[in-house]
Amino acid sequence: MATDVKSKVGTGIGVAAILIWCLLPVAWIVSLSFKSQESVTNGSPGFFPSSGGGAGFSNYKDVLTDDAFGRSILNSIGISLIATILSVILATLTAYAVARLEFAGKKFVLTTALVIAMFPVVSLVGPLFDMWRTFGIYDTWPGLIIPYMSFTLPLAIWTLSAFFREIPWEMEQAAQVDGATSWQAFRKVIVPLAAPGVFTAAILTFFFAWNDFVFGISLTSTEAARPIPAALSFFVGADPFNRPASLLAAGAVVATVPIVILVLFFQRKIVAGLTAGAVKG
């Protein structure tokens, strides 16, 4: 009995700790976004906007009517979505082959994916900067979509291969016995079964693309393709010690909203996808 109560109290404290850990900094950035710009310039220490220092939604209004930031939202959504869709299509084909077919070079595929997942991204910006300018795709959407695709492929391939291993493949065999080719069996039988896994891979891929910063600042130079993280970091001037904190906080909240929405609706799928690649199931 006594230990039972103790462990319940312990779990309760643990839950509180997790909630504070996860939500306090988020609450802070939201709170900061409601501080007025004058109060921030004059210095307004403390967690909450001090009395009279609140700004209502004016920071949000300023951020959303800012042309550069508005454009960067559009860039981020467009680039991330396109990269996600293309990457998931390629990863689905690859994961199917890895999970299902026998072929020499399977090990090579998995090893390549593993190495690329751990690749130091910054070491590529120099040569890519050079190459993209030669190809004429520097500072364009494709210039970011291509690297986002190749760096999300490993995660997508792992997640999907893990999901594909769970699928009842007898159904595919049955289809093949009934005269379907490998390709037909794949398209008609497996795709519908695999859809939930594919969706999970898509969410994780989208997270990666939305989060990227290195490519975002290195391979763009104007508003034409600059995504949100890069736009935020360039928001005002280069002086990192004197930024319009509350305005940036509002921008940060706007950039976080899509992520929170995805997490709220699909938390179960995201957790399953994240852990699928790391632990043998």
């Binding site: 779990t11 643990g14 839950v15 997790i18 850990w21 939500l23 900094p25 802070w28 501080k35 921030v40 307004s44 220490p45 690859t94 082959a97 077919l101 026998e102 072929f103 595929v109 998995l110 090893t111 390549t112 994916a113 130091p120 991204v121 910054v122 070491s123 590529l124 120099g126 040569p127 900067f129 050079d130 190749s150 391939i157 291969s161 007898e170 065999q173 016995v177 490998s182 989060n211 910063f213 290195v214 600042i217 290195s218 993280p229 935020l232 970091s233 990192p240 010690f241 904190a245 940060a252 976080t256 992520i259 997490v263 938390q267 957790v271 994240l274 852990t275 790391a278 632990v279 043998k280």
Partner: protein, 308 residues
Amino acid sequence: MSTTATRKAAKAPASDRSKAESRLAFKLVAPAIALMLLVTAFPMLRALYLSLFSYSLTAPDDRTFVGLDNYWTALSDQLFWRDTGNTVLIMIVTVAFELVIGFAFAMVMHKLIFARGVIRTSILIPYGVITVVSGFAWQFAFSNTNGFVNSWLPFVGDDFNWFAEYPSSMIAIMASEIWKTTPFMALLLLAGLAQVSEDMIEAAKVDGASWWQRLWKVILPNMRSAIMVAVLFRALDAYRIFDNIFVMTAGANGTESISFLTYRQVIEQFQLGIGSALSVLLFLSVLVVAFVIVKVFRVNLADARQEG
């Protein structure tokens, strides 16, 4: 019954079928592999080539072959070693904190019967938040003009400037890094924890093992591979640290990481020659770190690749 029969029947004329299977596999795999190599292997080879030249984009016509001079310049520069030291320090400290806190979180989540959805949702939020946003949130939190950290911490003066000196700047950077990535660690460890057999823990309990003994003798050894894979992934990710430093200090007070140094040479100063040499060195150092972790902790890479 019938399945085995058809399988045997299909095996007999196998060679045609398996050749077709191989061909299909290559077709399915080719686009992804080609794309991954186009964006990594090819530029890396290009960097290897460019690193042998003195080459600046501000004077592209003055490109001259200098052999290994760029590497010599980089390796004999104290800046390179200072930044490598910073990077290794950040990697070790953040992964250690993430491992301990992440494990504690995983234990709590594992025990949890109520509010699982709420906790799972909350823990995914730091994971999903953009690193740049996390950097801003923590920079402003530590700020002595607009932050709350100074007034909440008992031993710190209200006007203490965290970003004025090296140790406190590093603490702020690592706080942001640890905050954002601990949830990922916790989720990986939770999955590992779920694989430890409850019967075994129960048996140890019946045999009189204390909570501490059960943790060290039963739970941890049985989730070893999950821990090692998590450490490997996180360590290599931490070694690439860039976003937080860019946003929070921009490398001021000697807080630069090796990624930041490379970025600065290539993108800000257009020094493609020396920048490429740094790129190659960064790549090699990641390989060394991966090799050391795999060797020291005897990580089974097949677990990470989920073969078997």
